[in-house]
Amino acid sequence: MLSGPQAASSEELAGIETGLAEELAAADPRSLLPVAVLHEALDRDALERREIALAAHAREVAAALAGLAARRKGDAGRPLATRLLLGLAAHLVHSLPTSLDERTFLQVLAYDENDETARLFLAAGAERAGRYPEAAVQLERLLKAHPENDSENAEARLHLAVNLRRLGKTHDADRLLASLIQGPSKATESWVLAVAYHETGRALLAAGRLDEAERSLREGLARLPGDEKLLLELAAVRELRHEPAQVRQVLAGFRPGHAEGAGGESARHRYTHPSAAVLEQTWKDLVGAVPENLPALAAALQRTPGRKERNRS
């Protein structure tokens, strides 16, 4: 329907589909979920097959259906809309271009401005695009909305520290990194701790504060033995002191395969890619909820005014 000589425009088709979904939702709100999940699955498949037009259309409709869900009366509408959009984003965060998920996350925030996952991904996207002030704003809002959740927000605090330094707010950046390093180690994931030490070391090296850098790096190595980046930074301290024999001595203890991040990836790579686990779980839950909502969809289809036309077609 989107290609060929008699193809309809994506907008026309989306309008028809959304109108129908609106009728179905009016008949039974539970019918929205299977229809939305169908379109999200279509987007996944089409993106994988590089059918860009079909994927874009399916995504457009899925987002519109989330909008429909949000407009429903009662308390369930907006949470469903948020879930539908986070489920949609689950595959978009792995797709190219990397900004494909941005619109979806912004829509999530329109329905729930305190959603941590959306804020973190938006901040990471802004950071990746070099929009550091925007990244800092998103992260500050996230932390302001969840001040009680210090350990879980360690990732956000780490990103904020890195971006504040880029914006010249070195004092605030140092304070955030120190809070991550000095916080309870069990509550902080090791990759966060590692990057906090890396960035502290980098800042001190760049400032020529070699003694402080060495102290911090040695402390980091005591907590994260064999960390490749900490060893390299410690070697750099010796390099800047013109102590080549000491450089060799520091690196003599290095062994490959000391990736310190989660799942075998390095800490810095983990920083680059926020975990999509929450998104994946949301998607699985949505797919799992389809069967229980199918009878509602079938009943709604029977009750909507366009039933006879649909039967004819």
Binding site: V247, F254, P256, H269
Partner: protein, 408 residues
């Protein structure tokens, strides 16, 4: 008491004269010529260490030479009954100390002669500064190596001061290389396999005394082999490696340089990567300092990165750890570092060009001139020495060598 003492002295003198007379020392036989012996090796005044050759010349006197013996530090080493050339090899050890050499020749008739030599200690003001600065020089004309130049054709200027060239070689001078292979996501879809095959060919083509180490990296170091000339050791375990992850090129390059730091002779780093560093903790400026100190030559076989276009390929490249300006700066610094080291950047159109590029590199290393000199001026650790090389009798030639070095 005094009287009896003098009587005893007279008695002793009498006895002594009697004994000397009995031995013939005071008789007419003392006029016969004894053998003449001299030590010709080592020369007088030369400190000796380790295995030392000692040679002596003996000329017979009135009677034929019956026996020649060597004493080294007062210990008899050995002797010869008859030999035209008297030669021994002794171990003088490594201690900086005097040694006593004595050669005793006897004819059994006229008596014996002794030649002695005391070798001196090596005085500190005699120590020779053996810190040899080596330059690896490529001379080309019209794209081809220019061979046949001699030592006298080259003039080295170290911080503007002419230097005496003390060693000069051309051709297959052994090298130690680190092959630095990018195994990040950009090397997926068989690109890594092709690159590894190129590395295998490179290693197989190395000479017997060449050695290499393979460092495989993405956002961290994945594989590090020992330095070896055995191809199977260098490529051991590579078949299981899959390309994934980010890129920490600066960090990997820094480690490569440190691994080369205590190696002697020609040092080479071959980097196979698109050159986009994302996740390093070290800036390229610091790595550049390490290159200057190590004096390794960098060769960058640059793979085009995804979406690269002619003219300003980095203008739109952003990553989490660097913006476009940061990437441009790092890439420029890497380019400058490579050229400053005396190496070169070769941009490859595709991964399939890797084996041929590595072969060209090997040929290039084998066609270099190696000039050695002892720098006449020392300015202390970390001081920059700018180098210039002039070649006589080679008009139109293109000379490539490191731009300078940091004093250690």
């Amino acid at each position: 008491m005094k009287r009896s003492f003098l009587s005893g002295l007279r008695l002793s003198a009498f006895v002594a004269l009697g004994v000397l007379s009995a031995l013939g020392v005071l008789s007419g036989r003392s006029a016969a010529a004894a053998p003449q012996v001299s030590i010709v090796q080592p020369p007088a005044g030369q400190p000796v260490f380790g295995l030392v050759e000692i040679r002596a010349e003996v000329r017979a006197g009135d009677a034929p030479v019956r026996r020649v013996e060597l004493y080294f530090d007062h210990v008899r080493v050995g002797g010869f009954r008859e030999a035209p050339l008297y030669r021994w090899v002794v171990d003088a050890g490594q201690e900086n100390t005097e040694h006593q050499i004595e050669v005793v020749a006897s004819d059994g008739a006229a008596g014996a002669s002794t030649a002695s030599l005391t070798t001196p200690v090596l005085r500190t003001d005699m120590e020779i500064d053996v810190r040899l600065q080596q330059l690896f020089v490529k001379v080309e004309r019209e794209g081809r190596p220019l061979t046949g130049l001699s030592r006298g054709d080259f003039t080295i200027l170290d911080n503007g001061a002419p230097q005496e060239i003390v060693t000069f070689e051309q051709g297959d001078v052994p090298f130690t290389a680190v092959l630095l292979l990018d195994a990040s996501t950009s090397m997926r879809k068989g690109r890594l396999d092709t690159a590894v095959n190129g590395v295998r060919s490179f290693v197989r083509a190395m000479n017997r005394l060449d050695e290499a180490k393979l460092l495989l990296f993405d956002d961290s170091i994945l594989v590090e082999t020992p330095f070896t000339g055995v191809p199977s050791i260098l490529t051991l375990g590579l078949s299981d490696v899959e390309a994934h992850g980010g890129t920490a090129l600066n960090d990997a390059l820094y480690l490569a340089l440190q691994r080369l730091d205590d190696r002697l002779g020609r040092k080479v780093v071959v980097l196979l990567s698109d050159g986009i560093d994302v996740e390093s903790v070290l800036p390229m400026a610091l790595v550049r300092g390490a290159v200057r100190r190590s004096q390794a030559s960098l060769y960058w076989l640059r793979l085009r990165f995804d979406g690269e276009r002619e003219g300003g390929p980095l203008q739109s490249l952003y990553t989490t750890w660097r913006d476009a300006e940061g990437h441009r700066r790092e890439m420029d610094e890497l380019n400058a570092t490579v050229l400053e080291s005396g190496g070169r950047v070769e941009v490859l159109q595709g991964i399939e060009d890797v084996p041929a590029a590595l072969k060209r590199l090997l040929d290039e290393l084998r066609g270099q001139y190696v000039l050695g000199y002892s720098p006449s001026v020392h300015r202390g650790a970390g001081a920059w020495h700018k180098l210039k090389l002039k070649v006589r009798g080679a008009p139109g030639a293109r000379i490539r060598l490191q731009e300078g070095y940091l004093e250690k």
